[in-house]
């Protein structure tokens, strides 16, 4: 029986037309989907490569977005610094004294254009109240990109054009290098250097707690004192043309003041 069954099945063959039709069927299928030849792991390599590229590109974009290119230091008595990226967006805001920290935490200006952010800061209650009390607002722009810093300074001057007692200035990164080491914002650090030139005993901690109005007044008084001393010395020495260091510094300050 075994042989009978075996030989019976032996006589059954796949027809040539069936084989030919199947070959044609498979050839058509393979033409339509050639990419499916790739083994599973090879299929995933370009997908993974694309994912890595996207991740790195995304990381690069993230880095570019969150790298500050300029800083706007705002000092009145609240001292705070607003970091701006290459896209003119605010990426961080930091207070440099107690009032500044309180103000920074109350503002929601992250990712805003810096001009809009500045308008919000000026309109905030603490700043508005200080300005009404005749306090001096100092806005200092610091940045390595002079083109952006210059543009920001111009925009800041435009924003503050309607305000009185506003002082706008710019600093290079080198000039402002030691500011944060002293615990001061860039604006107050600039004022500190001015005072220090007149009074070497002044400390950053003393400046930190002073309003810009008080610092300006101090500069003025120290300058006046120097002027009186110089005039007295000149009178004794017969020299009427010597300018005091204080006057020179005050002149430099006057050049930077854009608003009376």
């Amino acid at each position: 029986m075994k042989d009978k069954i075996k030989t019976a099945f032996e006589s059954v063959h796949a027809e040539e037309t069936l084989k030919a039709d199947t070959k044609a069927f498979l050839a058509e299928k393979m033409q339509r989907h050639p990419g499916r030849r790739t083994a599973l792991h090879r299929r995933w390599i370009p997908v993974m490569a694309a994912c890595f590229i996207l991740i790195f590109a995304g990381f690069g974009s993230y880095q570019a977005y969150f790298t500050p290119t300029s800083v706007i230091s705002i000092d009145i008595n609240p001292s705070l610094e607003v970091s701006v990226n290459r896209f003119d967006r605010v990426i961080s805001i930091e207070g440099y004294n107690d009032d500044g920290k309180a103000l920074a935490s109350s503002l929601h200006i992250r990712f805003m254009n810096y001009t809009e952010a500045l308008e919000q800061i000026l309109a905030s209650e603490p700043i508005a109240a200080c300005l009404e009390q005749n306090e001096i607002l100092s806005v200092t722009v610091v940045g390595g990109d002079t083109a952006q810093s210059g543009q920001i300074l111009s925009q800041v001057e435009s924003c503050t054009a309607g305000q009185k007692n506003v002082h706008c200035a710019s600093l290079t990164e080198e000039e402002a290098a030691s500011a944060h080491e002293c615990g001061l914002s860039y604006g107050k650090y600039q004022a500190y250097l001015t005072v220090q030139a007149l009074d070497p005993d002044i400390t950053p901690e003393q400046i930190q707690h002073m309003t810009m109005r008080e610092i300006r007044d101090l500069i003025a008084s120290l300058s006046q004192s120097d002027a009186d001393t110089a005039a007295s010395t000149a009178a004794q020495n017969g020299d009427h043309h010597t300018q005091s260091a204080g006057h020179r510094y005050q002149d430099e300050e006057n050049k930077r003041v854009h608003h009376p």
Binding site: F9, A14, L18
Partner: protein
């Protein structure tokens, strides 16, 4: 996806095996053609790496049987059918062969695979159990019962295996 060359080689090597299994399970030539093409398409799309030709053959047998079963689940058909519906040229078969094949085809489906794999492909019960996913004792039982039925249908020759 395997190459066209690999596909054509597989067709030459296993076409008869697939054809015979289709004959065991299916009711007409049209269904056979569909399943035949489906099996070889699965082969082309499969990423299985075969350890040997035996491994590959066993793969074809298992896939063909499963494809036939899946196909049959979708239809209600009579279990008995004339041979001339299953083979394109039934006239090519000798009367003896036709009688034997008809006897095999008249067996319940679960016996037919076992008979083919044992008597034609010459697999052992253990190997058949592995291919069909059945217990080896079940295979022995199926073989014994199929032998008994075929002996009654085909005459009293003793089974040599």
């Amino acid at each position: 996806m395997r190459s066209e060359q690999e596909a054509n080689l597989a067709i030459e090597r296993y076409a008869d095996t697939v054809r015979r299994l289709c004959m065991i399970h299916l009711k007409n030539h049209a269904d056979t053609e569909d399943i035949f093409q489906t099996v070889f398409l699965k082969y082309v799309l499969s990423s299985v790496v075969f350890e040997s030709e035996e491994h590959e053959r066993a793969w074809f047998i298992r896939v063909t049987i499963n494809a036939c079963k899946d196909w049959l689940k979708s239809f209600f058909r009579s279990r008995t059918v004339c041979l001339d519906q299953l083979i394109e040229k039934p006239a090519d078969l000798s009367p003896d062969h036709q009688e034997v094949l008809e006897a095999v085809l008249s067996l319940p489906a679960k016996y037919r695979d076992v008979v083919y794999l044992h008597y034609y492909e010459e697999y052992t019960a253990v190997q058949i159990g592995r291919i069909l996913g059945k217990n080896v004792n079940t295979i022995y039982t199926l073989l014994n019962r199929s032998k008994k039925i075929l002996r009654e249908k085909l005459g009293g020759d003793e089974d040599e295996g």
